[in-house]
Symmetry: D3
Subunit: 316 residues, 6 copies
């Protein structure tokens, strides 16, 4: 909830200053400690097969976001685990505000570091030169787009590491169209947040407002747990944890998941009949007849799915 | 649930003995290891602006308890953090039995220490001289008043550190009129407790009954986590943790919270319009017109609140 | 969910091979690393007063399982704590999938050890000699009977220690008639599992499939936390943890629990009247009249219970 | 090392004020939050068989302290574990500054609580009435006697919970004649402390000075880990942890330890011969001849010990 | 140190009974809960290229044990990590009694489980039939041979999980010729153990004697941390942790280590010259001349090593 | 020790490739993921009062490094705690390889992130364009200068997070003239490292070589625990932890420490006389005569110190 800042508090907190309403699709280069220019962002996400935002961030299309709402961590593991060099895309150990809601969106990344006045003074001065009155959490929050998930590296900080309370959480919900929040740090106002319909993953809760930290990067590569998150990653969170899917794998993950879901349907249907031992059905049927039955079922259901999505014959 | 004590168990547990129905508003001095006379209690809570119980414990008025039901940890932080020497009033890390119910009441404090027979024998003998058959958890529980929250320093003990099971939990609910329980220790009978409508904060759950400890103080200063709790503190718990508010700050905390809540209302209303960046509205509006709009809103809502409470013009 | 195994994955996982539908009531001796013959199982559970399965496992009768659905950890503690040499029958610290559902059933135990290829190769070869194509988690799962609880010693492993995902979890539900799962390890597909109506206790959740382990025993004595579990133990889990009750104590535990429940009823009823201090009623009434009142109540309710169960005068 | 306090720091720390050199053998009653008068101290240590200090604290004699230098935790366990109601006298989990030095002395206990200005103001005012300029860690430290071990309940606090740095540690060494320190909290200046020849047990090390706490009791009952420590307890620490031995058991513990040590000597001597299996010698010899050999050895060595100590025939 | 057992203690502890000095090279089958016959032991260690003890346990030769004294964990990792299915052979997180002494020997494994009287009574009765008065820790200890390392699965137990105190530790030192101890549990008498010249790895230290557990296997496969240990494994411990090397890899590990050690010598020698960047020398020299220099050095030193060991041309 | 990389291992590790001996004082801009040009480095350390290296890194002079060898964490705390915005300069919780050796030097910072092949491929390609064959730990190590301390943000990784083994540790010792190592990650070859005379602070030890990570920054701002470290910070480590001192405060810290050390000398000398209570001497003497005695002593010793250092009258 709203925090009336006394002067002594204001000094140690990321200040809440007025702001002249500019359009924030991209920060000018060098306005943060860790800079990442549009060209660098494009270079480092060169495999992105989709469009990009004006600032270079990959933009996984809306229809794939929609399909991603049916993913679970296991669906994604199946595809990503096979990719050499992509075994660090999953983070868990979060407190989850709405475990019954799936988290899906495009990663909008923010990095904080422990406050150090000599460094922050320089960064703030550089920001001012570019028309930003104060580099702070709201600087990043005001750049969020519909479909974004705010992903914040707050290095696990609990006290003073609260990226938002319920007011800004509400703002994010409005701005991202219920996209979501992942913070390797904390939030405040859990009572308020619990009533707002947007998925959120955080390490802890604390009544202190954000403070004693400095904002050091917006849409730069960040670390969340043991993962490296890139701006524009497809973020998917379930009851277990969060996957950060590089855009180039989004389609493959989703197509593979279709098959997994159909296999699950069929497997459980067979189990429900009560006639088979598990090994006769799962992982794959031992009996050639059952194998054929499954193949037919898969084919039929895949076609139904495609029709349902208005797709035409693009196979899998 | 009820525990049929065998003789061997009875020896190591705080015994459950019969009791001669006396009125327990205050224990005689020296009946516990850590004594705190009525005069000492008054001396050490000298700033209390309210009435007191017969034993000297501050009595935050019922109407303030009622208003406190709308507090969250953040509301309280805003006021207490400004007070030099009161930065240790918040404890968290609890298992919360009913996270959707706010905890509000007056602190009734109890202290336990690890059992040591030489010391306990003397304490029990002294208690007997004062008409108390056995110093035990029920000695304190039978002194509870409506509006009390039982706050127990069980030094984090899990096994044998269960202050109550569901029977005594039920008793406390009846005696305190759903006041509540905070224990830096454990409870038993979680299934039973989950069905009883009273907020409870504890560190762990265990099937053992209380044992291997000795009751050493009733309504003395105690430690819960990193806080010092005084008898008569206003206890407020939400989904995050528990605040122990010294009575002298209760009114200020509540009045400040009114403004916070109105500010929250207004902020979210503006955010819901979808026309503003967060920095244009929160922490305070940058546009003078919006500032005035907010001031008018605040004034109007404060007046409505006062009317609603039957107050007259006492401003803030 | 279903996992499409690439060849590289298949090598490190407990393989999912086809199976020739044999009847799995008992494994031949020596087919596992830790063998336990039918005779040994009978020898080591010699105090079992009930029937046995074909493989020697004690079979607590269905009506006692039914009655056990009203047990809580505290009810069991009261009886078992008195038994010299049975103080290690309770395990807690689990994540509980359905805390509002009681877990009741007969222990079907499985042991895993960290994979070591020289040992596993020998075990797999021995298994093959006995007609088992591959020793794996499904080998055990396909032996489950109605009323069983699958109890798995996975030595606390999280990554690669997932005994089942939602497909096999569903199979277990069907095979055991909603018996349940206790694993000192992890599960996958928590979203899927959350929707399946069977109690489950585990240490963690992970998206990886089971791997890097070897199945080393089925229906052998195992360790879960600080307990020793024997095949055929009566397993009871509530919101706190899990008790493994040796069959010889099942009847005594249940009869004692009847009294506890009646005592709870009476105690709360008296407390609800608001006329008594807790010590006048609980642990046992101090007033002889109340004592008599309770005795009468107990007698009446016990008789009602017996009638309700269709029992005739077998006392307690 | 010395800390130059700025004004802002001084406010939050236990102040370092000048002091008028009075004799500190006992604080006047009521000068602390938790008071314990001389009479109470005598009452609650009524089983003490030895002399007392002027303030009532039991004084285990110097020759027993001397003998206690040969004790280990196991020696003490053997005696205390048999005493009903004394199973909580051992604490471990400490960082030990000089693990190769045994800690022995009489407990001088001090209690701190989290700072709360309303309570501390009253306590400081009461202290001033009794001629104490400021209640602080040095108030207690200046009361230490030769042979004392300073035992401090700092409720596990690390940051700001540093009872002493190397200067005051040096003072304690001089004042107690190398008695020692046990703190359920932290110390600072570990480099300096490592060079000072006095055993010390603490939970952590931190560069902050003590602050944000209030001294609430001197020579009152305190908690260290899961133990209750009484003023005057015989404190013995080894490489494992610390035992707090009630004075009434000191002699029995030491006499029992003599036998244990002789048994150890004899056992190892026999093992060194390489002729016996361990079960033939340890716990007690199976062969009647060896039994007699041991009995004779024990008798002879006990007599030597007594002579060595100048004792005469007081047997054991 | 020696523990004088009172009757009440004796009941809960693994009893220390007299024993009729038989030759303990192997326990009869079925004398323990988890049996592993000589044939099974041979079957499950079929790849062992060396001799065996009379009970079937692989016997890595003395000269290899001698060479293994120069191994570090990294030397072993290099070889074992390449072997599919042997990635679980390393355990760490131990307290190490003598970190400056390397641990080397043949694994003698022992398994304990939480005490359960019904099971233990049967096991003890079976043991008695085979002439063993009491199954207990000393039953296993008395079977130790020179060159053995006692490896004990005590499931991480601290209190009551103390496999030995200093007397039995001394016995093990004598019996194994300073072989060593690894226990996934605790020890007692750390002061005494610290003075005895044998490496020891344990999880914790506690003054309690072993109790509340039952011995369930001798020279059976056991788990230590995340490893599976087989009787006869080559055990090597350094300052970091413990490796359990299957006998079939012992020679390869040692030969590979020779090369690593020579490479280390040469690398550091070159670095000491101060003329090269690290990448010019390490992992392998970039300059062909340096490559040749290293090859020559390696050849020369390998030959010296072989001569030194009295080997003849067996190459590597 | 040397690791013979098999092809499968090489793929997942930071490769050890040959290198063309170039001069490494500064990496070209954009050769790493997180770039920080010479100008940026100068801008963000604008308060540095000393010379700089060719790459812009502040160069605290050698004589101050020499004086810093007498600092302890407490000395530094006294000065830095007073500076608003510099309360996050201390990190602890390390394993310390040589706790009896003080760590002093200039921070040379390196950052790693979890491996992600799409990002690393781009970074490696960019590096190649600038003549760097492979970005890896040795790329940074080969840039070290005498007086440097290598400070590595490995995000706490243990397995695969080993920045060096004993060979490269030896190289660092030679290259930095025993400067030192701080890694928020692990090392390998602890046995070897223990014998090399250079201070080292790390979180853990593991036998795995570095792998599954990517080097993302050299001499950029990094996080170690809760601190922000800038290239060129004065690094000081003692038995407790590590301080990162911004160059602009180096002189003030050292001058203040001189006074602290003299105060310590004097305080202990007075305590050693045994005539004073601690409050009469410490924090500052209460008696005006003693105050004067101390002032004279301080003046005399400060002058001696200056002479000793060859300084002339620059006061303090």
């Amino acid at each position: 909830m709203f925090r009336r800042l006394s002067s002594s508090v204001a000094r140690r907190c990321v200040a809440a200053t007025a702001f002249a309403g500019a359009l924030f699709l991209a920060l000018p280069a060098n306005a943060q400690l860790q800079t990442f220019s549009k060209q660098e962002l494009i270079d480092y996400t060169t495999k992105n097969p989709f469009d990009r935002f004006a600032d270079g961030r990959p933009k996984v299309p809306d229809d794939l976001l929609q399909r991603a709402r049916e993913l679970s961590a296991e669906d994604i593991w199946g595809t990503l685990h096979e990719k050499e060099g992509f075994r660090n895309q999953y983070a868990d150990g979060f407190v989850i505000a709405h475990p019954d809601k799936v988290l899906v969106g495009r990663a909008f990344t923010v990095q904080f570091m422990p406050l150090r006045a000599d460094v922050d003074d320089v960064a703030q001065a550089k920001a001012k030169e570019h028309g930003i009155k104060h580099l702070m959490n709201q600087t990043a929050i005001d750049m969020l787009q519909p479909g974004d998930v705010l992903v914040v590296d707050m290095f696990g900080k609990k006290v003073d590491g609260t990226i938002v309370g319920d007011n800004l959480f509400y703002y994010i919900m409005v701005a991202t169209h219920k996209g979501g929040l992942v913070v390797d740090g904390s939030v405040r106002d859990l009572d308020g947040i619990s009533e707002i319909d947007m998925p959120a993953y955080f390490r802890a809760v604390d009544p202190t407002p954000i403070g004693n930290v400095m904002l050091t990067g917006i849409n730069v590569p960040i670390r969340i747990g043991g993962t490296t998150v890139m701006p524009g990653d497809l973020v998917v969170g379930d009851r277990e944890g969060v996957y950060f899917i590089p855009p180039q794998f989004a389609k493959e993950v989703l197509d593979h998941a279709d098959e997994i879901h159909i296999h699950d349907e069929w497997t459980k249907k067979k189990f429900a009949e009560g006639k088979y031992k598990s090994q006769e059905i799962y992982g794959s049927p031992s009996d050639p007849k059952l194998q054929q039955e499954y193949k037919d079922y898969l084919q039929k259901r895949l076609e139904e799915l495609r029709k349902q999505r208005g797709e035409k014959g693009q196979g899998q």
